[in-house]
């Protein structure tokens, strides 16, 4: 841990020799000795080398033959890229998609800069990447069913790449081991190369005009997307350097803002940017804003009063009354006793929760105001989002939901994770609780959900939930599916968190008790932070699982990446029955996401030293 921090601080200047900070990478064995050690160490190993070498060559040959065969129809996914990404999102509103991606780029750039994320890579390693990559391209060129012209082009490309690698290797000499580059620069470089290629190569995407495939230069992927992608890359790099340039108080403030923004971003992107609510300003001024102000300031006053030191039992009683009022509002909603805006019910519930936590903020004026400011900010967000989500959209789309393809996949994955996390933590606490009824309820829930396949739960929620709802209450299919995913994922998440809770030493509990903390303080301030820290790697694993499991919505009727690749494109008249190409493309998309998350989790695991302690 300490070593990592050291080295992050010391690589601040990027391309400087790190002779005193980071030990140079060990020299590798000369090729002959390396081969002797790794390929021919024993007769058995020699046999293995030849058997597996032949197998690997055969596998690459089959794959390359398959991919570059004339029978493959790669125009199918190329023409339908937009369908795969956003399904039927209106083309004239597409700027909204770019703005959403831009928001993510800004946040990514700022976070990597502010937290100084990423390792350093030695020039030796980079040079080896160039050389292996180039050799692989050459191998593909030799094995693929190319004509001689195309083969020559590929071989020249391979030679150039290998040449760059060799130039670094011999140009730097032994210094290649002690010169380090931030890995983030390598990422920027790779992204730059990909985006730069849009300006050079006209990627062959065809437009469909009058039912025929036409090579329409205006509709190629490259010219229509190169300007936005370039701007996005500039934003990413720019915000990275802004984030890195900041220090001290500004950086600390910005860190807090960025963290909050990450939490809010999915909601803002989906319900504000992409959905484009058509605000009714009369209603906003007459109802929404006054209501938000009333809850904000009324609630703020109550909370300020409740944080008065030495309030004793009265605080608890007031909080209890507020909770009862909030609960009663929901019961009344079920029976239809009196009308109330949903966000008012939500606000009452949140006020009760804040009031329950108020005792922890009793103290001087500053501490008390912290809670009040938190409440005001929270209310602003809740009321803004509720107003936006409740307003009709200006988008004209067919079907149930305006997202589709990759955007639906990501939407379900992110929303499921955000919603199931608190539920999972509660279930884990319930399962390890010393109160038997909570324990039994949580255990039964977790074990039941974990015992049945996800697809049956999705069927249950998409088909059967309308039966359970009271008359007059409706639920869109997407919402039903997200609820199903959330309840499913929460059970698994709870088990991961439980693992973390069990890893917290008994002494920590005892120390908290000795300090006189209450049960909720002990859980919130002592136990959970340590438990969650330990369970970060399994939680990332759960995130990967959820991301992959989103493909199951295609079975219950959602138009996600899998459904579009498997059913929608292969039903188009031009690409009738073309499946394999689309499936391979989307498996690559899924793979990129899952693989980068798993690499990140492995890095985290090393950082947290879970394996070593």
């Amino acid at each position: 841990m300490a070593a990592v921090e050291n080295f992050v601080v010391n690589t601040d200047e990027g391309l400087l020799p790190q002779a005193d900070a980071l030990p140079p990478e060990l020299p590798s064995l000369p090729p002959g000795e390396w081969m002797k050690k790794n390929l021919f160490s024993s007769p058995f190993s020699t046999i293995l080398t030849f058997v597996f070498g032949a197998m690997a060559l055969a596998a690459i040959n089959v794959l390359v033959d398959f991919i570059f065969s004339d029978e493959r129809n790669w125009t199918a996914p190329a023409t339908n890229l937009r369908l795969l990404m956003t399904q039927a999102y209106p083309a004239d509103q597409y700027i909204r998609v770019w703005v959403s991606v831009g928001l993510v780029a800004v946040l990514t750039g700022l976070s990597t800069g502010l937290w100084n994320a990423g390792d350093a890579l030695s020039m030796k390693r980079i040079s080896m990447w160039f050389m292996t990559g180039g050799s692989f391209v050459a191998l593909v060129a030799l094995l693929a069913p190319f004509d001689s012209g195309r083969r020559t082009t590929w071989l020249i490309l391979a030679a150039v790449v290998v040449g760059i690698g060799l130039a670094i290797w011999f140009g730097l000499g032994e210094r290649r081991r002690s010169i380090f580059v931030r890995s983030i620069y390598v990422v920027f470089g790779v992204l730059g190369a990909i985006i730069g290629s849009l300006w050079v190569v006209k990627y062959g995407n065809y437009a469909l005009a009058d039912g025929e495939l036409v090579a329409d230069p205006d509709a190629l992927v490259a010219p229509t997307t190169r300007i936005p992608w370039t701007i996005l890359l500039a934003i990413l790099v720019g915000t990275y350097f802004i984030g890195r340039g900041l220090a001290g108080k500004v950086a600390a403030l910005l860190k807090a803002i960025v963290m909050g923004a990450w939490l809010l971003a999915p909601f803002i992107i989906v319900w504000v940017i992409l959905r484009d609510p058509d605000l009714d300003w009369d209603h906003v001024i007459s109802t929404d804003i006054p209501m938000a102000l009333a809850f904000g300031f009324g609630g703020g006053l109550i909370l300020y009063a409740l944080t008065k030191p030495g309030l004793g039992e009265i605080g608890k009683i007031v909080a209890g009354v507020l909770l009862a009022v909030a609960a009663f509002n929901w019961v009344a909603a079920f029976f239809g006793w009196y009308p109330m805006l949903q966000k008012a019910r939500l606000s009452f519930l949140f006020l009760a929760i804040f009031a329950l936590a108020a005792a922890n903020f009793a103290g001087d004026r500053r501490t008390r105001l912290q809670l009040v400011w938190g409440w005001l900010g929270f209310m602003a967000v809740v009321h803004y989002m509720a107003t936006m989500a409740n307003t009709a959209s200006t988008l004209e789309i067919q079907g149930d939901f305006f997202l589709g393809g990759l955007s639906l996949t990501l939407f379900i994955a992110v929303l499921t994770l955000m919603l199931s996390f608190p539920l999972g933590v509660l279930l884990a606490l319930g399962r390890t609780s010393r109160m038997p009824i909570f324990r039994v309820l949580s255990t039964v829930y977790i074990e039941t959900i974990r015992g049945v396949p996800l697809i049956t739960i999705l069927f249950f929620f998409s088909v059967i939930i309308p039966i359970f709802l009271p008359s007059g209450m409706g639920l869109s299919e997407t919402a039903a599916i997200v609820i199903g995913y959330t309840l499913f994922s929460a059970a698994y998440l709870a088990e991961n968190v439980r693992g973390g809770l069990q890893a917290v030493r008994r002494g920590q509990f005892e120390a908290a008790d000795a300090l006189g903390l209450t049960g909720s303080q002990r859980t919130g301030f002592i136990v959970l932070p340590q438990a969650l820290r330990v369970s970060i790697p399994p939680l990332v694993g759960q995130a990967i699982a959820t991301y992959k499991e989103t493909s199951l919505v295609s079975i219950v009727g959602g138009f996600d990446l899998t459904r579009i690749a498997d059913k929608v494109i292969s039903a188009q008249t031009d690409f009738l029955g073309v499946k394999m190409e689309n499936l391979l493309i989307i498996s690559f998309i899924y793979w990129v996401g899952a693989f980068s998350m798993s690499k990140y989790s492995q890095k985290l695991e090393r950082r947290l030293g879970v394996g070593e302690r």
Binding site: L39, R434, G451, I544, K548, S587
Partner: protein, 513 residues
Amino acid sequence: MAAPSLSTTQQQRPPLYRDAVVVKWALQLFILFLVLFAMWFLSKEAGDNLKAKGISTSFDFLSIDPGISLSEGIDTEPDTGGRALWVGMVNTLRLAIAGIFTATILGVAIGLARLSDNWIVRKFGNVYVETLRNIPLLVQILIWAALLGGLGRVALDNGPINGWLHISNKGVSIPRVFIADGFYQWAVVLLIGAVVGRWVFKQRTLKKDQTGEDTFPLGYAAAVVLVFGIIGWFIHPVFGFLNAPLQAISDAFGAIPEIAMQLALSAVAILFSARWIRNFFAERRTPAGTARLDDDDWFRVIFAAVGAAFACFFFLALWPGLSSWLINSFSDLFQVLADKFGDTPEGNARNGWPVDAKRPDIVQAGNFPNYGPAGLNMTLGFAAVFFSIVLYTGSFIAEIVRGGILAVAKGQTEAAQALGLRRSQMLRKVILPQAFRIVLPPLGNQYLNLTKNTSLAIAVGFSDLVQVGQTVGNQTGKPLSVFAIWMAFYLACSLTISVVVNFFNVRLKIVER
């Protein structure tokens, strides 16, 4: 959270709303009440809505003809809904068992490959794991289905084909080995052989322990079973006499009155509960002989007693049919066994071979030629799900195996080297036994996942339980009942797997001082 009400010294009791025990139990009962209320409310709403929509929650569809035909299974034209679901369950289990078996072998191989000294083998394992576990299983299933669907069509020549293996876009067909007339008599001979073999094994092990010489206990035992098998192959018809005693047992079960069975079940439930409570008290007893129980302990005791009472109520009043069902099942079971030793349905004595085999054949029943019943056929759907599930789960098992081997303390390897063990001996006798212990629980989890993942077969139309249930539920308009059956089946599967894993886990546990 000590219980103040049990403190021995006389203290001023706190007010009711500050008494930890009171607050704790009030909160729990309140939440329990909320949960029960919500469930009651939702089921009431569901009942009303179901009535309005004309959907019933009964299980009568189990005995009604669902009017569907299945793509494959032990019965493709089931005459009742229950039969259809049963076919689905058998298909799911076939897929799961075959998958678990193959995925384990593959996973262990890849896991060992990732730890190999050889660079190519190691890279091969890495690429395999990192590729396959990061692509959703459903997408892999669809890819396999697309790949297999592109294979050649079945040729038109009827009758047994000239070969052992046939691959086409209808699936894969290999020779089928099947149970013939004399199998059960032969199985009795094998069973006796196994008992004798076990005795020989113990004798040889004892001798090895006493004298230290290598006595090959396993080899001897296997040889004994083999000899019995060969002799039994020829003499098995003599065991036909077992028909009579089995028939008698079946009749005896059939004669048990229903009330006796109900009382016996209730007695078992009470006995179990009483034993548990007695042991619980014995555990909590202090050396002085007095039991000190806090409120949590009392909850468990009361829970056990209430559980027993509920079980009695269940057997006697709630579902009295269970007892007669159990009686009939036992009676039927022994009747079936007795029939296996009597004459064949055609009225022949059971003198034939125990097992027989046939090669694949191709028949044209409808418009298109397909594989006939002679060979062991793997349909396209089965093959797609099977291959993808094995490769996918194999990548996870490989990671578990690798992790388990790496988790064996380094000192163990060094100690084995210091003893002068060869590398293979070290793996077999020191590292793998310890790694197996670490690997077992997550491995059980993977088996469970594999079983649940077979439900994705619905995407390629393979008739597993979920696909059949979905069809039956839609046809008969009883999705809720089907969901209950799904849950019961999959929970039973996971319970079985965790019982098996726990059994080995307990047996393999290191006995600590």
